[in-house]
């Protein structure tokens, strides 16, 4: 990354932790692994040990049995496999599913694909704070409901859903509960030993691991299973075929170990920086915060401003790297569908900026972000045409 960039886009991807990079280098280097982890010869078995060691490290982070974790290419694949796989596996019991329009697009598009197959999906809208009212969920559950998918931490606003209460309700009704935990694993305590979660998606690159590797957790419960989306080799319990990327998986394991060591310190660090950032931005005229402030992961701060256009605001912010809406959305140039679902107008949504902080963020970077944001607001308002 160029030294003049100020990276505040940790919710899009986190930089590789140096310890993770070192573990991957060792694995991919000359003295590292040269075999397919499925091969039965000694080098293959050596690779398989590294894969299983990494799985163990991830299991320790989540307080679960490593045998419940399936390696995937990331949270998008995990979401697809969990949602489509579980819905199809249980289709003989019913075809009603529940989710929210504020989910990640990997979830939204999976549900839309299922709608096209004849499944019925109930889309629960959040309150203006972005949170799901569990009583509303209770009202829409039916005899034929098979799956509920609600994300843990929203990728745009940082709003935390009460997955404990949602999961408990689903268990009561014998409905599978999936959560996209891409933004929470490695940051918040996610204890699968106690949380009533059946399926959980995660990706390593949101907690200082490499891009291109993630996992799906599948609880050991009757009726909790997924149909594979792909067919080929028998890897990953015949649920996710394909040669395992050993160096990436080793990186994911190392990142999990680091997360377990640093999680509390990371939380304190990003909380202090978020407070500093919000104090600076809130002092500016017409700046508002998007999403619930009481139930929010502190590493994400989503703000809106009156009287400015989003694309110009982003250019005015440079060299600060932040996100306009979700990173996946910003290429499309459309106002954030998450913020629109929270009741924001298109004009309000398009001016939103998501700052996301992490382990390597500094006070100096936060101060630069405040100053650039102030400059961009004043600059754009000074030339704006009135509505």
């Amino acid at each position: 990354m160029p030294t003049d960039s100020v990276y505040l886009d940790y919710a899009a991807t986190t930089p590789l932790d140096p310890a993770v990079a070192l573990a991957m280098q060792r694995c991919a280097g000359e003295a590292g692994v040269l075999a397919n982890a499925s091969s039965i010869h000694r080098e293959g078995r050596r690779a398989a040990v590294l894969v299983d060691d990494a799985r163990q490290l991830l299991a320790e982070l989540l307080n679960t049995d490593p045998g419940r974790l399936i390696w995937t290419s990331g949270a998008t694949e995990s979401d697809n496999l969990a949602i489509q796989g579980a819905a199809r596996f249980r289709a003989h019991r019913g075809r009603h599913l529940v989710t929210m329009p504020t989910e990640h697009k990997a979830v939204l598009e999976s549900f839309r694909a299922l709608e096209n197959e004849g499944f019925e999906v109930t889309w629960l809208r959040p309150g203006r704070d972005g949170r799901l009212d569990v009583a509303e969920l209770e009202q829409v559950l039916r005899e034929d409901t098979q799956l509920v998918s609600i994300m843990h931490v929203n990728n745009e606003t940082g709003v935390i859903q009460d997955i404990e209460a949602i999961g408990a309700l689903c268990r009561e009704r014998d409905v599978l509960f999936h959560t996209d935990a891409a933004q929470s694993v490695g940051k918040l305590a996610v204890d699968l030993g106690s949380l009533p979660v059946d399926l959980l998606s995660l990706t390593a690159h949101k907690f200082y691991g490499p891009q291109g590797v993630g996992a799906l957790y599948i609880a050991d419960r009757p009726g909790c299973h997924v149909q594979p989306l792909m067919h080929g080799g028998g890897q990953e319990q015949r649920l996710r075929p394909g040669t395992l990327p050993v160096a990436l998986i080793v990186g994911a394991g190392a990142a999990a170990r680091m997360a377990l060591q640093h999680r509390e310190a990371d939380m304190a660090h990003v909380t202090a920086l978020r407070d500093r950032l919000w104090a600076g931005l809130a002092a500016l005229d017409g700046v508002t915060r998007n999403g619930d402030t009481a139930h929010c992961y502190p590493g994400i701060l989503n703000v809106g401003a009156e009287g400015v256009e989003g694309e110009s605001l982003m250019l005015g912010l440079e060299p600060v790297c932040a996100a306009s809406g979700s990173a996946c959305n910003s290429l499309a140039g459309e106002p954030s569908f998450v913020l629109r679902a929270l009741g924001r107008s298109d004009t309000e949504a398009q001016s939103a900026v998501r700052f996301s902080l992490g382990r390597m963020s500094t006070e100096k970077e936060v101060d630069i972000a405040i100053e650039r944001y102030r400059w961009a607001l004043e600059h754009l308002r000074s030339i704006a045409a009135s509505p």
Binding site: L315, G333, L380, A384, A385
Partner: protein, 128 residues
């Protein structure tokens, strides 16, 4: 590593320092203003012109929109200042859009400039 930049140097320079942004004060034979707005995304432009003896002595803009719109408006004000109104009557934004490397998806924004300028020319004709 070469980055693919969405804005060329002229857009970046005009966005950072749009020297023609503002309003024209009433120190001319006539001061005319025109607004144009794109309904789809709310982008809008306001041009104001100070006119003496059928010549646009000064053209200023206000804009709410993307960097390309701001830069194009600034460039238009520079180009149009000093020209006779009849020279500007058929002004098209195509050459300017090409110079600023405005993406095709934003072609509609360039029409805002054409519409606002055409409106000023039309108002001037009515007041003569």
């Amino acid at each position: 590593m070469t980055l693919i930049e969405p804005y060329n140097n002229e857009v970046l320079a005009r966005f950072a320092k749009p020297i023609h942004a503002g309003d024209v004060e009433a120190d001319y034979d006539s001061v005319l203003g025109a607004d144009a707005k794109q309904a789809a995304d709310g982008a809008r432009i306001r041009l104001s012109a100070g006119i003496d003896a059928g010549r646009v002595v000064v053209l200023r803009f206000r804009a709410w929109g993307c960097p390309h719109l701001i830069a194009a408006a600034d460039a238009l004000c520079e180009e149009a200042s000093g020209k006779m109104l009849e020279e500007l009557a058929g002004w098209k934004a195509g050459a300017l859009a090409e110079r600023l490397a405005v993406p095709r998806s934003k072609a509609g924004l360039m029409f805002l400039l054409e519409d606002a300028l055409r409106s000023i020319v039309a108002q001037s004709a009515q007041t003569e």
